[in-house]
């Protein structure tokens, strides 16, 4: 606590006693909550397993080395699927996100009720994880790439629409006003005044989300929605640890490559 004192003159304190008291009180509550939360977790933990964990980790680690490189020949297809799930999912999301974003932005929404609906779509899409979407879609479409793609699409709609509508709200309004003054219709104002301003944002969002979706689509296989996650859960269930490490290696390189690609593309756009 920063405190400066002069020998016998006035004493400067950063906060008054009352403020100080309130701060201590808030800290106390926070610590109490954390302690209670910790108790909630530790009650349900079997500490024997936790103590055993380092040994387990060493054991599994040893079994994972060396990765089974020959397994790669069977991984090309799932990697290709993973890529497609991410890309097509992003495309689907962008197609849906555009109208939703225009409905959600204050300056383009046709009606407050429409805006509320659009916001609700955005929030529900964002709060349900893609794995849960996949879990539900596998019930409808059956296991496979299709369910995964749609899951990624639905999950990304909220993210893309949110960023896009924030972009739409930040545009320079006078440019639109100038188009309006020429006698252009609403649709033309959107086309000439708004679209050119948000196009770079739009492209940036697409690439950004694609990068995230590559990561997300690597796990969808855990619930049967296609991609490399399917191989991962199969290998873990059969305790084929050398295959697991190979898959992790592949995921790692996919993620690095996608991050590199998205950084390049974003650099080119902006």
């Amino acid at each position: 606590m920063p405190l400066i004192e002069t020998p016998d003159g006035p004493i400067w304190k950063r906060r008054t006693t009352k403020e100080q008291f309130i701060r201590w009180f808030i800290w106390l509550i926070a610590i109490a909550i954390i302690a209670y939360a910790w108790k909630g977790i530790s009650d349900k933990t079997i500490w024997f397993f936790v103590q055993d964990a380092p040994r387990q980790a060493a054991d599994i680690g040893a079994r994972m080395i060396p990765p089974k490189f020959s397994y790669m020949s069977r991984l090309w297809a799932p990697v290709w699927d993973t890529l497609n799930i991410a890309t097509l999912g992003t495309v689907i999301a962008l197609v849906i996100a555009v109208p939703v974003a225009f409905a959600a932005a204050h300056n383009t929404t046709p009606h407050p009720i429409v805006r509320t609906i659009a916001i609700f779509i955005i929030v529900s899409s964002r709060s349900v994880n893609s794995l849960i979407w996949a879990l539900m879609l596998v019930f409808i479409f059956g296991p496979g790439v299709l369910a995964g793609t749609i899951a990624i699409g639905l999950r990304s709609v909220g993210f893309c629409a949110k960023l896009l509508y924030e972009g739409i709200e930040e545009i320079d309004h006078t440019q639109v006003e100038a188009i309006e003054a020429t006698g252009a219709t609403k649709a033309q104002q959107m086309l000439f005044g708004i679209v050119p301003q948000v196009l770079p944002t739009f492209a940036g969002i697409g690439v950004f989300r694609w990068d995230i979706n590559i990561r997300e689509s690597t796990i969808l296989g855990l619930v049967g929605a296609g991609g490399i996650g399917l191989e991962l859960s199969g290998s873990i269930n059969t305790l084929a640890w050398t295959q697991v490490s190979m898959i992790l290696l592949v995921i790692l390189s996919t993620v690095i490559v996608s991050e590199w690609v998205s950084a390049k593309v974003r650099g080119a756009i902006i």
Binding site: A37, F49, Q56, L135, I140, L146, T218, L252
Partner: protein, 269 residues
């Protein structure tokens, strides 16, 4: 006006975005081929899809009305477990992130510390929380402890990276001014760095709490405890009305958190 006015062209084409025609066309054709191939791999089973429609309808019908009452006790258990997990993993993750983030800021740390911290961040960012959770479950057994570990590691990758970037972007003159007073290193961090990065970091920790809660809903699917486990059980038992109730609760809590975090961020800044 003169009669011999020059003749102006009567057509105009927008100059293309990509200047070189070869590059332009190869990008267009390349993406068309890729999209065709990608759609090819979708192997849409049309029979199944046709079945899927009524199935989807039945599926959705089974969701309504959401059933909050039958499994109330289990649901509350799951929700609280998720909340505890989100809180603890956020606190632990941030506590670990602060030294790592300081170490990963190029303007603070010596080269070797910087490299070590950056690789820790890189490592924890690569794998989605779910994969971390799978391994945590293998190591620590089923239950919320595994979820807690997975989410804490995920938090480090997120929080330490942003903290490091924020520190790298601070106003250097303020930092110099404090250094010029002859302060020690911890004093310098406390007076020059902390006030500059603090508001944003508080906002980000609320945001991360929000993310951790959402993620806690899925680590349960692989055995990491929390509301996700409850949700998974509901799906496995085909209790879709309970699943619907759980999803609604998740959406509700996430909305509340988003609202609070927005409010808190405004209040802090």
């Amino acid at each position: 006006m003169s009669v011999a006015e020059p003749d102006f062209p009567s057509s105009w084409k927008k100059p293309p975005f990509i200047k070189s025609p070869l590059l332009r066309w190869s990008i267009i054709i390349g993406s068309a081929i890729y999209l065709a191939l990608a759609f090819g791999t979708m192997d849409v089973d049309w029979e199944r899809a046709a079945e899927g429609l009524p199935r989807g309808k039945r599926f959705l019908a089974a969701f309504f009305p959401p059933n909050f009452s039958d499994n109330l006790g289990v649901m509350w258990d799951g929700i609280f477990e998720s909340i505890w997990m989100a809180i603890i993993s956020t606190v632990a993750g941030i506590a670990l992130s602060i030294p790592i983030g300081l170490g990963a800021a190029r303007n603070l740390a010596p080269k070797w510390v910087y490299l070590v911290c950056r690789s820790i961040i890189g490592g924890s960012r690569t794998f989605p929380e779910i994969i971390l959770a799978i391994f945590a479950v293998k190591l620590f057994g089923f239950g919320p402890f595994a979820g807690f570990v997975a989410l804490s590691i995920g938090t480090i990758g997120f929080y330490a990276k942003l903290l490091a970037e924020d520190i790298e972007n601070i106003n250097p003159t303020q930092a110099e001014a404090i250094k010029a007073t002859g302060s020690s290193w911890p004093q310098w961090i406390n007076y020059a760095i902390q006030p500059q990065v603090m508001p944003r970091m508080i906002g980000l920790s609320v945001y991360r709490l929000d993310i951790n809660f959402r993620e806690s809903a899925v680590v349960g699917i692989v055995g990491g405890g929390g509301i996700g486990a409850t949700l998974n059980t509901a799906f496995e038992r085909y209790e879709f009305d309970t699943a619907a109730a759980i999803l609604l609760i998740i959406i509700g809590i996430v909305m509340a958190l988003e609202y609070t975090s927005g409010y808190l961020r405004k209040w802090v800044q």
